[in-house]
Structures are given as C-alpha cells and as structure tokens.
C-alpha cells in the first residue's frame, strides 16, 4: 500500500487465455443459476430466517461457482490477475446475485421506506415547493428533489426504479471504492479483492432508494478527492510538542503539483458537501468527522476544509432544517447506554430465527473487523500501513454514542467503515509481498472464506424477508386502500414495514397499531385505542391488516398469531367497522367516523 499519492497505474494488458474465458463463462453460469432459482421462490416468504431458508440449492451452487471463478481469476498468472473485463464481469455478477436477488424473486421493491421515498418525491413534484412543517424529509429535501426531477423527466416507472435501486447504488459505490483502492494500493489483486470484500460485507441493506445511499456515494467521492487531488505529503510525525507540530504542519506539501487541478477538486468537494448537507441528516456529520481526522493527520492539503464543512453544516441546520430541529434536539437521546440499548439490545429480541439472523449480522461485522485489525497489524509490521485508512475505518464509531438514530446508528457506522475495513481485511487474505500470485494454499483458504461471507451477507440482508418482501396480494390491498380512503382519513396498518405512502403522501394520516399501542398489543388494551383513533378521526379510518406486517410483529416478539387474531376479531366486532376489501394476504376494514 502506498502512503503517498501516486498516479494510479493501469493493469498490464495481456492476451485472453482459456482461464479468463472459463472464468467469464463461470460467471454467466452462476448468474443463470441464481436468477433461475430465485425466480422459483414463493412469496410471501414463510421462514423467520428470511430468503436464506427458501432459496433453492442452485442459488448456492451459483454463489460457490462465482466465488471459485473470482479466486481463480484473482490468482491469474505471473503477470497478474485475469483481464479487467473478466474481473469487472465477475463483480457485476456478484452484485446482481447478492443485491438483486430479491428483484429476481418478486417485482415488488422490498421494505417500506422505498415506497415512502417515492411518495415524498411525488408530493414534492405535485406541490412544486418545500414545506418544512410536513416532516423531517422536507427539511433535507435534496435527494427527493433529484428523484422527483429524474422520475418526471424520464417517465420511468417509479416502482421499477425502487426495485433496482440496490443494484444501481452498489454500482455507484463500487465505482467510488474502485477509484479509492487505486489511490491506496498499486497491487491490482488487492484492488479487486477490496471490491469483492466490500460486496461480501455489505449486509447493512442501506442501498435501497434513499437519501443515505446517495449521501454515502457522495461521501465516498469526497474521500476519493481527499486521497487524490487534495492529498498532502507530510513529513514524519514529530510527536506532540508544540514547536514540532507547527513545523510539521507547515512542511506539508500538496501531492498534486497542479494548482488549478487542486482548486477544481476543492470546488467539486464543496459542491458535494453542500448537496450532502441538503440531502441527509447524518451523512454530513460523518463527512465532517472523516475530513477532520484526515486533515489532522496532515494528509489533506486544504487545512481549513473541516471549518468550511462545519460552517456549511451549521448553516443548513439553522436555516432550512430549523423547523425540524426546533422540535427535535439532535442530542436528545445521546449516551452510550441509550445507543447500546437501541442498536443492540432492542434488536436482539424476537423469534429464534430472527435472533439468529441478527447474530449473523453481528458476527459478519466482527469477522471483517477482526480481519481488518490483523491486516492493519500486518501492514504496520511491513511498514506500509496507511494511517488514513485506519482513521476512516475507526472515526465513524465516534458518532455511535451521540445519537441512537432510531436504533440504526451501528448499521450506518459499519457501512461507512466498510470500504476501509475491506482495504485492511484484504491484506490478510493475500500473500505477504504485494503483487505476488496467490499460492494454491491461499486460494484454498480464500474460496471458503468468500463463500462463508456471501452466505452470511445473504442471510443478513434478506433476513427480514418474511415481512419486508411483499406479496402481490398485499400490494393490491394497499392500492385498494388508496382508492377507498378519502382525503383526510386515517390509514392504520398493523406494523412497519407496510408498502404505503408512495402516492397521496399528504392526503392521509398514516399510523400503525404498534405505534398506537407501543407497550401492549392485546385486544383488551390495544383494541380500544386503535378503534377510538380511527373512529374519532374526522375522515374516518381504514385498517389495513397484511400477512407481512403481522409476521413483523410476531418475529420481533411483540405479539403472537393468536393474540393478533384476537385483536382483529375484537376490532371487526365493533360498531361501524366493515370489511371493505380482502384477499388471501390482506384485509381492509372501514371504520366509519
């Protein structure tokens, strides 16, 4: 690994050989197996382990073949790994298999949030303006403005965009990580392995149609610019004595000797940071922390960049986002104890299968962090540890105790650290001397390691498939509610996720039974609360009860099938409650006002 900026070198061109062709064919076979087998999975998924339990064995054969093909291609020959198109093709296959698996199972996007984001973009384009009083999204509307413009101008089906967003976002992220890896190491094998591990460790499921996925891409581009045109060369660190520090700081020199190029890169960086500030609440803080750490390491040329980012961030918070922040102090739920409870304790409850999925997610993260730690020690001993990579891997953790972030902070922290964890973990899995061909023993270790990570990632990513992969009947029920419910009425679903709010975002009051009855979902306690809420709403209410939402409550240990049935029976026996729509996976009840 280089510790100073080098112009990225290109992989040597060498002729196509039988190995390259066989690897490419193996990739095609893997993809065919994965697509063909995923398409046979029945929805709704009836396992609390998620997709991993219902994907047929040819899918896993495909996973095995693509990993073997990758290791063979990575091993290559004495001149280097297989040709670039072969490596790119194998990565594309892996992305389609791991991140497009659900899209091969069903035409409906997973999860609730992508639907909601489509609804926000629709509400923006319908109203033509931003009303920050609506909710938090309208205080950070950048991504939704982009989405509204793209959807209206292109005429692409919004649901298709949401369905394939994970694959598209992974493509964007991998492009950035690929360029990043070129700045960090001259070893082409290590670059490809970084990309592979980045895919295999990406269980966080944050690549759906969302501001955070967009923000993460821009974050990676900012880091690329700081590692490239805006990098600085610093002399050996003299220790923390004041005089030494000052001379060390002043002795820094720009890594790129073209001033115009540096100015251009700085302008681009500032534009990207402004867009990040306008698009997502959390990402600007992660940018600020990362840039500050890199600047303090002496490896970023514009020394005042953290100050400028801080000013941009504060300006956004005190003006466009002030409406939201006045009612939601950002440090209201700060503290390590709160963070651990929200991010770990609350998530490790539920059915046995669900708990196992959560444990696998934690184990996958810990395995990668352990590999990265060993890799860092190994690089340090070899005198080629790049402190910037370590800083970028570790600094996201600083945000963990600051905000519980709805129990998702640890997920975000692990995602932002992942590219740099992958860089360090790749060190362990390759021969000690960079550029050397993998031995057979290396290859034999690498294949099962990659397959194991792939199985764990599929388990982690799609572990909630019982309630976040929706059946066509459930989508039909949501559309029925949209058609039945007049403006002003309340729509009450059993739980999140529900694939609603993709249209008429502002026309209804959306609630879930779990929100209305946070402590007790029994018929005796919760029934009257839900009924009164719907009854007293001036426009009346619609109860939307779907199999997936019920599974969500059961899997997470909030109710039992029997208790939920009792609740539904109690509700439908009340005065003014009629069944308005039903099919095999959903019922809709109208509650007259």
């Amino acid at each position: 690994m280089t510790s100073t900026l080098k112009q990225p070198s290109r992989t040597r061109a060498h002729p196509w050989n039988a190995r390259d062709i066989w690897c490419a064919v193996a990739g095609a076979v893997s993809l065919a197996l994965a697509v063909g087998s995923a398409a046979t999975v029945a929805v709704p998924v009836n396992s609390d382990l998620g997709l991993v339990a219902v994907l047929p064995y040819p899918f896993w054969v495909g996973v095995l073949i693509v990993n073997v093909a990758f290791v063979v291609a990575l091993r290559g020959d004495a001149t280097g790994p297989a040709r670039r198109p072969v490596m790119l093709w194998l990565i594309a296959v892996l992305v389609l298999m791991l991140f497009g698996a659900a899209a091969f199972v069903t035409d409906v996007p997973r999860g609730e949030v992508a639907f909601r984001h489509l609804g926000i973009a629709d509400a923006l384009s319908t109203s033509g303006g931003v009303d920050p009083n609506i909710d938090a999204y309208f205080n950070w509307p950048g991504f939704f403005a982009l989405l509204a413009t793209v959807l209206r101008a292109t005429g692409i089906d919004p649901v298709t965009v949401a369905l394939w967003a994970p694959v598209f976002n992974m493509g964007l992220w991998l492009t950035a990580v690929g360029v990043l890896a070129r700045y960090l190491t001259k070893d082409p094998r290590r670059r490809w392995l970084v990309l592979w591990i980045f895919c295999l460790g990406n269980w966080q499921d944050q690549d759906y149609l969302s501001p955070q996925a967009f923000g993460f891409f821009l974050y990676l581009v900012v880091i690329v610019l700081l590692m490239g045109p805006l990098a600085a060369k610093a002399p050996t660190f003299p220790g923390f004595k004041r005089a030494g520090l000052k001379s060390w700081w002043q002795a820094r020199t720009p890594a790129d000797d073209r001033p115009g190029h540096r100015v251009g890169a700085l302008v681009v960086t500032l534009l990207l940071i402004a867009v990040i500030c306008a698009s997502h609440q959390l990402t600007p803080f992660l940018v600020l922390i990362a840039v500050t750490a890199l600047t303090l390491s002496g490896r970023v040329w514009p020394g005042r960049l953290p100050l400028i980012i801080g000013i941009l961030l504060v300006l956004w918070l005190v003006y466009p986002a002030s409406t939201y922040l006045s009612g939601h102090p950002p440090l209201a739920d700060a503290g390590l104890q709160t963070a651990i409870e929200a991010n770990v304790v609350d998530r490790t409850t539920g059915s046995a299968g669900h708990v196992l999925v959560v444990q696998i997610r934690i184990a996958l993260t810990l395995i990668l962090w352990a590999l990265a730690t060993i890799g860092s020690i190994r690089d340090w001993r070899r005198g080629c540890l790049d402190i910037r990579v370590v800083l970028l891997a570790v600094t996201p953790l600083l945000l963990f105790p600051v905000q519980a972030y709805g129990g998702e902070m640890l997920i975000r922290v692990s995602l932002f650290a992942l590219p740099f964890i992958a860089v360090q973990a790749s060190s362990v899995l390759l021969p000690t001397t960079g550029g050397l061909r993998l031995s057979s023993r290396n290859a034999v270790v690498l294949v099962p390691a990659c397959v194991l990570l792939a199985v764990m990632t599929v388990t982690g990513r799609f572990g909630n498939a019982q309630y976040d992969v929706f059946a066509d009947d459930e989508i039909a029920a949501v559309q029925a509610v949209d058609n039945l419910a007049p403006p002003g009425s309340a729509i009450i679903s059993a739980a999140h996720p529900t694939p609603w709010r993709s249209q008429d975002y502002l026309d209804h009051r959306y609630r879930t039974i779990e929100d209305l009855c946070p402590s007790d979902l029994s018929a005796a306690t919760c029934g009257p609360l839900v009924y009164r809420y719907a009854k007293h709403n001036p426009g009346g209410g619609y109860l939307l009860l779907m199999s997936s939402a019920e599974s969500s409550l059961v899997l997470q240990g909030q109710t039992t099938p029997r208790s939920f049935e009792e609740l539904e029976n109690w509700l439908k026996a009340q005065d003014g409650v009629d069944l308005a729509f039903s099919n095999s996976d959903a019922r809709v009840y109208r509650v007259a006002p």
């Binding site: 950048g142 982009l146 070129r182 967009f214 821009l218 990207l272």
Partner: protein, 113 residues
C-alpha cells in the same frame, strides 16, 4: 477564441446538450425519453464540468462525471423547489444551460492553452 480552437469533444457535448434538451422537452417514446433525459440531466453536465478539471485518470474522471452530474442536478432541483419555480422542463433547460456554459469555459481553456 474561435470555432477552430474548440476541440471536437467540447463542441459535440455542447451540441448534444442543445439537441437533447429540445427533444426531451418535446417528448419522446418512454425508453428513448429516459435515455435522452438522463443524458441531458446527469451525464452531459457531469462530463462538461469534469472536463473543466482536466482530469487525466480515467477512473477518477468517470466517477466525477456521475458525482458532478447527480450533485449539480440535485442542487438545481432543490433550489427550484425552495424558490417554488420547479418543473422538470425548467430543470432540463437549466442543466442544458450549465452544460453549454461549462463547454464555453472549457473552450476558453483550450484557446488559452
């Protein structure tokens, strides 16, 4: 600066932006409209702005085309929403104008060098 000092890629990007902006506004069948709109909204402005930086690394250049295209469209769309003047047609015009202005700036660079 005269037409002979402007490089062919700069001229091609500017002309393509003009043509695609017009045809996008007039409307095309869905798949072609999607391609034309994505070109004029994201890829052409991204390419025109990236060329101003004179990036020599192909990978960094490709990354900046995507990042600058998406970021500038986000900035333009968001500003239009805050000013209550948003329409997708206005965004097409604005991004077309950004592309042409960036090409003019690039042409000046080329003339000066």
């Amino acid at each position: 600066m005269n037409a002979r000092t402007v490089s062919r890629p700069t001229m091609a990007i500017a002309l393509t932006a003009v043509v695609l902006s017009v045809v996008s506004l007039l409307g095309l069948p869905t798949p072609i409209q999607a391609v034309a709109a994505l070109l004029v909204l994201v890829l052409l402005p991204g390419q025109a702005l990236t060329r101003l930086m004179r990036v020599t690394d192909l990978g960094l250049g490709a990354l900046l085309v995507l990042a600058l295209g998406l970021a500038s469209l986000t900035a333009v769309s968001t500003a239009m929403f805050y000013l209550s003047v948003w329409s997708w047609q206005a965004c097409v015009v604005a991004m077309g104008a950004i592309t042409i202005l960036a090409c003019m700036a690039r042409a000046r660079q080329e003339a000066a060098s």
